[in-house]
């Protein structure tokens, strides 16, 4: 198993974060998406500002839609994005 997660950002969120992906090593106490978001905010204060602009932000873990309670572990691909607008 990989010792890190791949984080992806899409659309307006990607533009605000300023990058489309990054690699983050999970601390052992990070169990869920909620924990992981707290880590991101801690590591980079800019995330507080960005996330506040996307109150309806969505998450997918390993390409499946999730929510704050979805489990995460090293090796996962975690994607954040605004509500989808296809079609």
């Amino acid at each position: 198993m990989s010792d890190s997660v791949t984080v992806l950002y899409f659309a307006g969120l990607r533009e605000q974060v300023g990058r489309e992906s990054e690699t983050v090593t999970l601390a052992p106490d990070v169990q869920t998406v909620k924990d992981f978001l707290a880590v991101l905010r801690q590591q980079d204060a800019a995330f507080n500002t960005v996330f506040s602009q996307f109150p309806r932000m969505r998450v997918a873990v390993n390409k499946v839609m999730g929510d704050l309670s979805t489990a995460v572990q090293n090796g996962d691909e975690i994607a954040f994005f605004p509500p989808m607008t296809g079609g």
Binding site: F10, K63, M84, T85, G87
Partner: protein, 152 residues
């Protein structure tokens, strides 16, 4: 016939051909009685020049495949096709094509609506609008669309 041959899901930047896609679906089964379709195009007006379609590769195809499988079973379809374009598309260009074929018209038309309603808010695509005055604006998801998708 395997389920695989009944479903066609494509995400691409290239245009698609409605006639070819229709013929492919009709050829699946001689007991097809009706085929419904929806074609979404870049709608002009208000100074809009183009849409930029962004997607999440891999997740997109996977989501559309699950959606197609769901429709196939739910409406007892003969087959269905979902083609969605990505990249920059100017006014009048086709964005998405949904096709559903069945023994009878009711199922084909219900499935067509189901597919496009669910696709709108359930597959990882995002649209940015590009205007003649240079503005570029990310499209907000419409609450109405989310309600429609949830209604199925």
């Amino acid at each position: 016939m395997t389920q695989q041959s009944r479903i066609r899901v494509v995400v691409q930047s290239a245009p698609f051909d409605v006639g070819t896609e229709t013929a492919r679906l009709l050829a699946l089964d001689p007991e097809t009685g009706g085929l419904g379709s929806f074609l979404g195009v870049v709608r002009g007006g208000g100074g809009l020049v183009a849409l930029e379609l962004e997607h999440y590769p891999g997740m997109c195809e996977q989501t559309l495949m699950t959606l197609a499988e769901d429709a196939l079973q739910r409406f007892s379809l003969v087959g269905c096709t979902i083609i969605h374009r990505v990249g920059r598309l100017v006014v009048g260009e086709p964005i998405v094509l949904v096709l559903a074929s069945a023994a009878h018209r009711g199922a084909a038309l219900d499935a067509t609506r189901f597919l496009i309603d669910r696709l709108k808010t359930g597959a990882p695509f995002w649209k940015a609008e590009e205007f003649a005055d240079g503005r570029r604006v990310w499209v907000e998801s419409r609450q109405e669309d989310e309600a429609i998708a949830a209604g199925w």
